[in-house]
Symmetry: D3
Subunit: 340 residues, 6 copies
């Protein structure tokens, strides 16, 4: 069985309900998530052996995060403990023309203060068949970026396929370095990259292009560029997201394997229950597809898109859907009938 | 005044809120409902004298169901007591491409263990001007099927018009008989049948037809067949449901009185607050229409469609709308303006 | 800095959640609002010095309303105390084809029993650069109408620009006078009037026109009429609202300055989180626009329309959005992207 | 079977949860209750045929109250409709040293504006074996007092036993008359009076006595006085309440039948879930006891005390306990063991 | 490290909040628990390797129970799947003089229909150092009793210490056998028995003794009797529970090792947040104590009593406290100070 | 009128409801509080002109705190903005033998990173008649300690009376200095000190004394010591807290003015709704008492004790009671009667 190790931060997510603004909330719904953890949960739900490696504070809030990992059937045995606090993010869920708003409170978290050498990667990665990281870890602090580079290098050395979700967040990268100073070195070791064109160019230090990044002519140019810069790259993919409103998205996908461009049909997603984590659902689906449909990149991409669409109907950070539900959607069942 | 007696099961419904999956729910919203009870509530809300006959366990949960009947102004004096438990169904409300999911836990319920002879139907039906049952009761157990047949035969003997909602549920019919072994005998006594084409064929043991059952050519063939098989049939109708997604339905209706086909205009229903029970709302509207507009099948059908559409905006199993609200919609008011 | 004084009633609003009908609600969400107060909150949120003048009961429920004013940064120093009760309105939030329903319980409120002379308007209006009232105050009682007229006359005497939102409510005006007996005298002193055509004609005692009031030919006729009847009128505007359903509105606007007709592009608003107060959000936006973009009526109108659209995504009576959020929408950002 | 008719007001009760102060509440729990209605519910729960007569507004909030009556199995067929509003009371539940706080908002309610002649009492009381009223109805308005006197006189004429709970409320009696101007005439027709000594003296216009009203010497003097003033009096009783704190009460009772004084043992009641309505629970228990244990005043009194104690564990206005639960307590079972 | 295998049923628990009666509840709080599972959770919380063996239905509700096991760090790898439904119990939490009420709905559950031979106990018990069962499993059905006997025999054969909590439930034992026909055979293999005197006598078919079972003279007689009947018995213990009210308990304990009687000091427990599962907390504490303090039965007993006391402050079935918290209480810290 | 300026941190408080443990919580109740802010709210509630000075992050969570200040009528005009985050504390509310647990997450907060010179104290303190600080501010960071010293020195220079609540928190003081290195210099300028004996000795670097610190002989020795060390000291007081359990406290107080020892009678406080902030309620009451009853230290102390007792019945950090409610309790009214 495949074993996927994912490395990153799990946070306490504090969100308002029913589209309330922060100041209207008498309570915040508490859940736990984070880009790389969300990928691990997706994979566990599909039946893959999924492990998550992170650093947690040794307090009651850290324990809550740990229990969530267990509940979701994500292996937590290599989690390390230390630091002061669990990262937090506040989420105000938008609707219609008002977008959702994220207030990060993750600086100084246990994961942000992780250091190179804290994890024995040779041991952790024993038996792993995939390693996943994202652009968030190098964005939270310099030492986290170093810890990430260490992991990536060892995974590479061990011959484990590596995937990266670029995940650019404008409110992070506050520690004095720009993405283009940090990311290229990390991406050199990655075999699979997920990212939209703006994110990709920004990570590479190239000027931001204009909004219609879904242009058929633009993406291949980016992909070619990435293949030039990343010697180990095998697959690059992009979630195509057309945002009609906070409550109505159109989701497609595109994938390039160095030779062929694959496109997935665009699907209507409305209403949106929760779009945070839908990119992670795409990434989780993509890893699953690449592992399980090894000679069928079209199906891998379609699987990723279907998983991403379904995520928009799920509250919370990660995609709480079963393999069968994604497959049903792949097989054309999206009318939302009652099962009874 | 008309007096409609409805016979079937009332269940405890345990549903998640805000589209949560079962495993995310810290609490289940508790309400009470069931196909035939929902019809009774619709009629009570329209001012009809409505009675519901069922079997309840003699415990606190059964009492909760009884109090709900009273609150909804549904006569409960002929309810009988016995058996072990109130049937339960769990409901996870879908959204968009993810359909709702029902987990039945109604086996061994007080209603499932009802037996022929338990109810003195001659006395119960005194003064009744209509009797209603549905395909759910014969689906839950053999003894319930027998009890249902007994009721239908006596109602027929007493000359009371009988209606049936076919209500096929794939997760029921677990006791060893197929619908086609049980339903035809029951349908023989019915004057009004509500059902879609797949359900009808399945109940009759004919191969399932393909999905576009709304085809103008297919339905008349079904209707002709039903009229052949059911000697007392006077009216057959179908809710036309085009499911764009779990959150967006298009609802129409068709009715055949043995001579003429009546069609109701298709209406947009979006968003869907709760679609469970919308078929029962159609049925309740149809009975009301047939009783109150005796020479106007078009209006009876339109009333049923309008009631069905409005039900999609109501949380819970039954249709909590007034006669005036259905009539306003029939008169063209569907813009959803604020009344103030 | 501009200082806007608004005069009217603040009520306790008791609403059901998640589209529940009144009888389904085990609890009512409590908030505070009212047409003229909502305008004050909008302005405070945009950074304007906003004051609200009203009469509150000297009990704990009145204190709740007072604390809400403070929280929203609306000046409350000239609020007066007396009378028996805070006005209440019950709100059942509709969805789709079922409109929201308001049950007023505001008769005999402290504001309804206010009397002429209770407020020292000369002192209150010192330093004010704008005065706002609405058609609700004269609708709740005769003495409130007199108190309103007194305020309007003094504001006029002091040379303060006066705005009025006609705000016709069919469930009010129960005290024996019709709008057309009361409103013309009040409107004579107003410089800015917001109202749709039916409301306006009704207020003026002219027969109600047919529903497509948005007709380009009809509105100018109304506007001309209003300019004839209201000697101080400078600006008249109308919120154009096309109600597809309770959950889907299309919002535009039109403004006439006596010379030119300005139109704002119609925007899609779906889903609707809460449309109560969206007219007040338009009014608040219009006052802001007229004050801050003095020579740019088009931008003032566009600002009002954008504010109104955003309000539909906010739960509660008033528009809890920042100046920057409205400006972003004015600048074309309505895709509802996640900010992170 | 006994049939008890109770006459009074049913209100919407809006209470804060978990001891929140009014200003902290984002929602109010909505329930329905009122002294005389609470008595009717108690009796219905004990299996007595209970009817409640009141006047409701013809709006959705009035309908909610009506549905509550039905749910509780209280006959509502003689309820009349009219007036503007359902009375409301706000309740902030105290704890420990902080007492609960009631804010009445019941002026101008449908019941407060009821008039003599509105109810056909001869017809309503047909078959009744008991009539109950309380000191609240004459406290809310002059016309309600007149309507109450009419009812009492007719009940007396028809030879129906009449009970009254004095129920003095300092925040009522705002309409210009004092209790001692109104109550004596009403009490003349009553056969059973429940009241504490301060209340009784106040109702009779005698100076308030000092707090230790439970003094064995004081109460007999009051009782003798009441027997002198009320020619039809047969039984007078008092709930003995020793308030250690809002969360800890000691409850006993005393009853005088004109000859003998009966005492009930004082019971500890802690914690208090909700003490509002506990006096009504006493009254309901007393009526039940007098009806069902006709020659056993001691048991009638003990039943009333046990019912009162149990009420303190029930949220909401009325006493949601079964006959068996009160009897178990009478039989000594008050250890609060788990039943399983 | 010790490995404790516990065998029994895990149920969905549906409870009302804030002391509401069933009929008042609009929602039921959903959690998962059951006597033997609760013991497993206690042990996992103390750091013991704990496994739970049960039979779950292969549906979404069964999956919820499985995820709860994982979250609580209880090994679930030997859980088997089959049957129709997860057992349910409804819980109405009492207060003061009103006891809590449990309505069982566990007949026909997957665990109730388990059969002998379904579990490969030789494999499951490999490496186990303790086996725990309770009197509930043989009480739910004959086949469950047989499955339990099979497990106990194999554990005995493998030389694994066996504990049993007698756990008599008057609402179970509905399948035609009495405890005294079933339990003695099962108890023969047990080394540790927890039970109060009435339960024990009842299980053994001896007449129930009177309530003051805590009598110093009565318990030793019972213990001697048990030692006679159970050839493998080493330790017998009783939770001493003095129920002042549903909200106030006094908890002590007594233990007999065949030679010496050990007593634990009685502790005050007030208020009671949730007493369901407190006996399981005692059992979990006792197993922990016997395993970890092998030559210190006094401390083992004291640990069990402290754990039991703390459980009363925890909502839900199982005891969510850490080893350190129990030890702190053992060390005398019970003043409930704020830790900050 | 008196004007009291309080300086410290306001935090987001995230608490579990109904005694849930952190890991059981699906939501955290959000409120705002902090020792010095709580004092300001108490004073505002008593009608004193209260101002709070702090440093808030310039984000949406900081805005929430600001709006809370406004709602509570605490002047916020001198609040400064900057830094990264609002301090957070998590609160799990205990019951009975299980104490409440606070998890601080306030490191790196905007207030923790405040620096000397950031506030123009000469201007801020203009017109102030009292300045209040507490031992928390110097405990969170070195720069905060410096900023606090600056404030205290300027207040002293301006001749404004200064009060300090020692408020020792074992989980703070993490930045490398001990209280005894920092506090003596700060206390030198203070006129009023509130603290228990352990705290006081610890702050002064003297060995911790044993638990019965309420000993009449021990406290005078401490007080004498404090008067020696603090040249400006006029009044020293201690809250006497006897913790029976987390749900039951006994509260008294003692005050020394350099000449006389005053004692307040110990009061029973049970149940405890929320004891966090009860010390701040004492402090707020003491300041009020010293200001308003200048020659009556006994009444000042009694007022502080009554305020402290009432706070235990209030959810949230600060004491939401009116002057009248404290005075009623001072006058002996603590039976918790219903006001109606």
């Amino acid at each position: 069985m495949n074993k996927v190790v994912s490395f990153g931060e799990i946070m306490l997510r504090l969100s308002t309900e029913r589209h309330l603004r922060f100041e209207q909330a008498k309570a915040f719904t508490a859940s736990y998530g984070g880009g790389e953890f969300n990928v691990a949960v997706s994979l566990a739900n599909y039946g893959v052996n999924a492990e998550f490696v992170t650093r947690l504070p040794n307090n009651e809030i850290g324990t809550c995060a740990l229990k969530e990992m267990r509940k979701m059937n994500v292996e937590s045995k290599n989690v390390i403990y230390g630091g002061e606090r669990l990262g937090i993010y506040f989420l105000e869920t938008g609707a219609g023309t008002r977008g959702s708003n994220v207030v990060y409170d993750r600086a100084h978290s246990s994961m942000a203060t992780i250091e190179k050498g804290a994890i024995d990667w040779e041991k952790v990665l024993e038996g792993a068949t995939w390693f996943h990281w994202s652009g968030i870890t190098p964005a939270i602090s310099e030492s986290a970026a170093e810890a990430c580079l260490e992991a990536v290098k060892i995974a590479h050395k061990l011959g484990i396929p590596i995937s990266c979700d670029l995940n650019y967040r404008s409110k992070l990268w506050q520690y004095g370095k720009t993405p283009s100073e940090v990311m290229p070195e990390l991406l050199k070791y990655s075999n699979v990259i997920l990212g939209d064109i703006d994110t990709a160019y920004f990570m590479l230090g190239i000027a931001k292009v204009n909004p219609n990044y879904q242009d058929e002519k633009t993406l291949p140019a980016l992909y070619t560029k990435l293949f030039e810069l990343c010697p180990n790259l095998k697959t690059v993919a992009t979630t195509l997201r057309y945002s009609v409103s906070a409550s109505h998205q159109r989701i497609g996908g595109i994938l390039f394997d160095g030779k062929t461009i694959y496109n997935a049909a665009v699907k209507e997603v409305t209403p949106v229950v929760d779009r945070v984590g839908s990119g992670d659902a795409f990434m989780g689906g993509l890893i699953y597809g690449l592992l399980e449909y090894p000679n069928n990149d079209q199906r891998a991409l379609d699987f990723a898109v279907a998983a991403c669409c379904l995520k928009h109907t799920i509250a919370g950070d990660y995609n709480l859907v079963t393999l069968k539900e994604v497959e049903n959607m792949l097989d054309g069942d999206s009318a939302g009938l009652v099962s009874r």
